[in-house]
């Protein structure tokens, strides 16, 4: 199944390509450095990732669009978004939330606790 979801960061990158394509990879890395503060390698990695998903293509140093912005978002709304995080967070990081998802029941209970606060 193809992945028709973009994270915010990927979205920003995709916007740059959609707006400027076709453009050379050199131009793209320059733009990304300016707009996103990315290193060359980061740009290439993300470009490769999105090309694998069928959005763009790097044809001999020129980046071309294979799926337009409207087209992509139209498909995205149809696809079920399941963003999974492979690999766990090391225990010694100070993470914001617990890594266990609360059940609907628990959420209701906690909502009540918050509401009851004077």
């Amino acid at each position: 199944m193809e992945d028709y979801s973009l994270g915010l960061v990927e979205g920003r990158f995709a916007d740059i390509v959609w707006q400027n394509a076709p453009l050379t990879t050199a131009e793209l890395t320059k733009l990304c450095e300016k707009e996103l503060g990315w290193k060359r390698t980061t740009t290439y990695t993300v470009l490769k990732k999105l090309s694998d998903r069928g959005l763009f293509e790097n044809r001999g140093g020129t980046v071309i669009v294979r799926m337009g912005k409207e087209d992509f978002y139209a498909r995205q709304s149809e696809a079920y978004v399941d963003r999974s995080f492979q690999g766990s967070l090391p225990g010694f990081l100070t993470a914001f939330t617990s890594r266990r998802k609360l059940s609907g029941e628990e959420v209701e209970k906690l909502k009540k606790i918050i509401e009851e606060q004077e």
């Binding site: 973009l6 915010l8 960061v9 503060g37 967070l89 939330t97 617990s98 890594r99 266990r100 918050i114």
Partner: protein, 549 residues
């Protein structure tokens, strides 16, 4: 060989600290419950756990009179109960029969230099080494390898999961300062040390984003990321210790709660509902979480929300109690104190029964001295010693706090030689009073006090020391002193100035007795099976051989 000695002291050191850590954990766990009951902010609970991790971090223990630990590693009661099992004859108050049985293991093992480790620490180490010494070498090696593999395993796990995570963070953009938006991470966190960076899921927006960033900023300000990393490293070293893992988990929880408190302090209490709602949204919403393995944080959200809702600014009294309790616990749990001065009457009673259970090498010394028929006092000096020349020597105190009083003038043994833990002999020799202090099973300290100049004039550290029986005929008797060093595998004998007068070239044998009559020196040599032989040589001849031959 050296390598194994170091390794053994490392392993025994770890075990020693582990025993303490278990006790400290239990105390801290209770204290934490008390803090909770008294509604003391979680900030102080975090400090509680730091006491435990501080103990794990310290190789040595500072001293204080109120410390829970007897210097050397165990709580008071523990030491008293187990003293009978201690492999050292020179702890006062011990019964001879028990100690003799334990002598065999430690006394023949070459020891590390006495100056670099505190003597009681050495006692404890020797004891534990004796215990470990019963294990065959292969078993010890396997134990060490298991421990080492575990350490490396946990360190690697931490390192690798960080690297993997770092790869995921590639696709990020900087939002402001040290704060980055990242696609596809389940929750915000702080990573890195120099400098720490905040990574926030890119889906967050509005109020949620602000609260999350504030929370993570507070972590950085409080240096929680450093504390957690340090605690994790300690846990890697003590990975075999369930209480250390428990402490890590509990501390992580307390750190989060305490960070929430700090955030509320900055937000003002009216925002607490919004803050709690953010927490709930991020934990409950399907958007951010899926497929993440269960970790320690289970049930955290509920606790945190309850804590946020209930949190009140603490009253000054509660804070004061917390601070006092904390500093008290830190001092009591982290420091060791010198062994208790035993009650005078009791020790005397025991002492008179205790003959000197001296280890093999020094026993040789006794013998030569006995034969020399000098004025020696062969007990533990319960009463002032009247020397035939009329001088009085009084010995008080214990282990490291031995005080010697000669004709009313007080001297601290530790000032003369800080490794001496018991006085074995007080002898008279010409104008000198010679005290023989026990340093280790293999080494003795000999201090020479001149009754004429009223000063300590010379000191020797060796296994054996004797002097010319006919010292009366000499102009300066002290020049007739000869001694041998402990477990010197060459069998070197020195004169009073430390010049070599003979090198016996021993193998699998050691010097057991020294006797000198005029220039005739008799050395008793014993092998490890206990067979002894005697070697005789002339003082003048040996000098000639050494310097001219």
């Amino acid at each position: 060989m050296m390598w194994w000695v170091m390794l053994e002291s490392l392993v025994t050191g770890l075990l020693n600290i582990s025993v303490q850590a278990a006790v400290i954990f239990c105390v801290l766990f209770l204290a934490r419950a008390v803090f909770s009951l008294c509604r003391i902010p979680k900030k102080y609970a975090c400090f509680l756990w730091m006491i435990l991790f501080a103990r794990l971090l310290m190789p040595m223990q500072p001293e204080s009179p109120v410390g829970l630990w007897i210097k050397g590693g165990m709580p008071q009661s523990f030491v008293e109960n187990s003293r009978a099992g201690r492999g050292n004859a020179f702890v006062p108050g011990e019964l001879k029969g028990v100690t003799d049985g334990n002598m065999s293991g430690g006394s023949r093992t070459p020891q590390l230099g006495t100056s670099d480790i505190g003597i009681l620490e050495r006692l404890w180490k020797t004891e534990a080494a004796n215990g470990a010494g019963e294990l065959p070498g292969a078993a010890r090696r396997i134990l060490f390898l298991v421990w080492g593999t575990g350490c490396l395993g946990f360190l690697l796990y931490g390192g690798v999961s960080c690297l993997l995570l770092k790869k995921k963070l590639l696709c990020s953009i900087r939002r402001e300062d040290n704060c980055y938006l990242v696609d596809g991470i389940p929750t915000a966190f702080v990573m890195g040390v120099f400098p720490p960076r905040i990574y926030v899921p890119s889906e967050l927006e509005g109020e949620d984003l602000d609260y999350v960033i504030l929370h993570e900023r507070t972590h950085i300000k409080r240096m929680d990321y450093l504390v957690k990393t340090a605690a994790y490293l300690m846990t890697c070293i003590y990975w075999f210790h369930p209480f250390v893992w428990a402490a890590l988990v509990l501390m992580s929880k307390d750190i989060e709660l305490s960070c929430d408190e700090a955030v509320l302090g900055r937000l003002g209490e009216c925002s607490r509902r919004e803050y709690a709602n953010t927490l709930l949204r991020l934990s409950g919403g399907k958007r951010y979480f899926a497929g993440v393995p269960l970790a320690f944080g289970e049930g955290d959200t509920e606790n945190r929300i309850r804590h946020i809702v209930r949190y009140r600014k603490p009253v000054a009294a509660a804070v004061a109690i917390a601070v006092i309790l904390l500093s008290g616990l830190a001092v009591v749990l982290l420091t060791g104190r010198p062994e208790k001065q035993p009650d005078a009457l009791n020790t005397n009673a025991v002492r008179s029964e205790t003959s000197i259970a001296q280890p093999s090498v020094t026993q040789g010394n006794d013998k030569s001295i006995g034969e020399n028929s000098f004025n020696s006092v062969n007990s533990r000096f319960p009463e002032p010693v009247e020397l035939p020349s009329g001088h009085t020597v009084t010995v008080t105190g214990d282990v490291y706090h031995i005080m010697i009083s000669i004709d009313g003038e007080e001297y601290r043994m530790a000032d003369l030689c800080d490794s001496v833990n018991a006085l074995m002999e007080i002898r008279e020799f010409a104008e000198y009073i010679v005290v023989d202090g026990h340093v280790s099973p293999n080494a003795s300290y000999y201090g020479f006090y001149s009754t004429e100049s009223k000063h300590w004039v010379r000191a020797y550290t060796g296994a054996l020391l004797t002097w010319d029986e006919n010292w009366h005929t000499r102009e300066d008797p002290i020049e007739s002193v000869i001694y041998a060093e402990p477990f010197d595998d060459q069998g070197v004998i020195y004169d009073w100035e430390g010049n070599r007068i003979a090198v016996l070239g021993l193998e699998e044998e050691y010097i057991y007795g020294l006797k000198r009559v005029g220039d005739d020196i008799t050395v008793t040599i014993v092998d490890y099976a206990g067979k002894s032989r005697e070697l005789q040589f002339d003082f003048k001849d040996s000098l000639r051989t050494l310097y001219h031959g």
